[in-house]
Symmetry: C2
Subunit: 235 residues, 2 copies
Amino acid sequence: MPTATVLANRASTAWAINTESHVQAEATDGFAPLRQIGTVASFARNETIFNEGDAAEFSYKVVTGAVRLCKMLPDGRRQIANFFLPGDFFALGEDSEYSFTAEAVGDTTVVCYARKRIQGLCDELPGVRKELVSRLYRDLSAAQNHLVMLGRQTAKERVASFLLLLAKRHSATDGAMIDLPMGRQDIADYLGLTIETVCRALSDLKHCKLITTPNTHQAVLHDIEALHDICESEL
Amino acid sequence: MPTATVLANRASTAWAINTESHVQAEATDGFAPLRQIGTVASFARNETIFNEGDAAEFSYKVVTGAVRLCKMLPDGRRQIANFFLPGDFFALGEDSEYSFTAEAVGDTTVVCYARKRIQGLCDELPGVRKELVSRLYRDLSAAQNHLVMLGRQTAKERVASFLLLLAKRHSATDGAMIDLPMGRQDIADYLGLTIETVCRALSDLKHCKLITTPNTHQAVLHDIEALHDICESEL
DNA sequence: CGGATGGTTGATGCGTTTCAACAGAGGTGG
DNA sequence: CCACCTCTGTTGAAACGCATCAACCATCCG
């Protein structure tokens, strides 16, 4: 299902197809010139942004909401490779087809950039090129750390690591509240666990007074230090 | 342990510190200009090429042998993020410190490239730049597929996937022999399993007549199709 | 030949998954 | 506005897959 499908999908919920202009400038963002070539699109909760195998014409930036990048196995098992939050770029690759599926976690708006035009900007502007390479490194690094988590950490360690990852994004300190835009099933599929195991691990952390969860989409981290300890050697 | 240590390590086994000139030109390699700036180094089996946390001054290419990229957890658990075989580049990042450790799997020779000089070539030569970005994408893509394996595949599926990965590198067809330069423990740490589980999965595959192992460092794949089936839905 | 290293196989235990029941939040319609 | 329904999250009990522990085997090398 190439381009046509993607565009059809998008059209169904994408209302404001306009040049991206309203977004505030981000301090030292080498991608600033992309502002000129982006178009905005919106997706409803759980809607597909692109499917594995679709012709890859666009790269994206999250404006609001959250996106999950995932792969389905034929029998229904799912692995989420990454979550993207506002400000994150995704699908920056150069393959002719997407190798993963991207879906909106909640109602989400993104900016779409035609890859050809990104390519053009890269050739002209060293700043854009460097920013792209730098973001690629970060993605690679994130994926490699994710590998360690999936390969060698226990369930409790993975959940603690996940909370700390989010905390780092929020620059959260002890006592800070962090948002969990994704549901428990999404967390499970990111951590390579089942939803029940994620729940149990969270309950454990609650009983240890390390976190509290005012509601299912927020968490308060009371002892980041202790969470770190859990990640590095099971207690 | 910054530079000094790395160089000390290298000096212990690196004899031929010469400009890389003998290596045959690889057809359409955008990295050809790197030939001018590389120096050769050799490492004995299990020797460290660089440690996590070392100052990252060099990027590398494998000439002969194999390299594992891994991370140790404080309690001794180890995860291997990737293996690099002859022709592969590694440590192409731009962080000031390596975030993983690289070790020689067997006796190995590599070419070292000062990152500064790679950077210089990237700025001058679009071909080098594009090759670098392209290799980064491939690494990212490999890591993401690895994630699916660790997060959602069973032991048998992982081992079959691993064999197929190697087969793809060899462009192997049915009946072809593939090399396993790494030991069982390395395979286990790559797949997020124990050495015993890897052995058992291999034995299973042998009993199913899908593979034979003339010795521990080689395997013959008799039915690649069937191995694919195992990866995608447990039989 | 003898010890060391790496690999294989078997028996048991544990952590996670699976299956099942229930609880809470959110949305819809009477 | 409340009853009802659905969807998501939580908790418990049982089953299963992989890890652990242990013994044994093969190969290499002094």
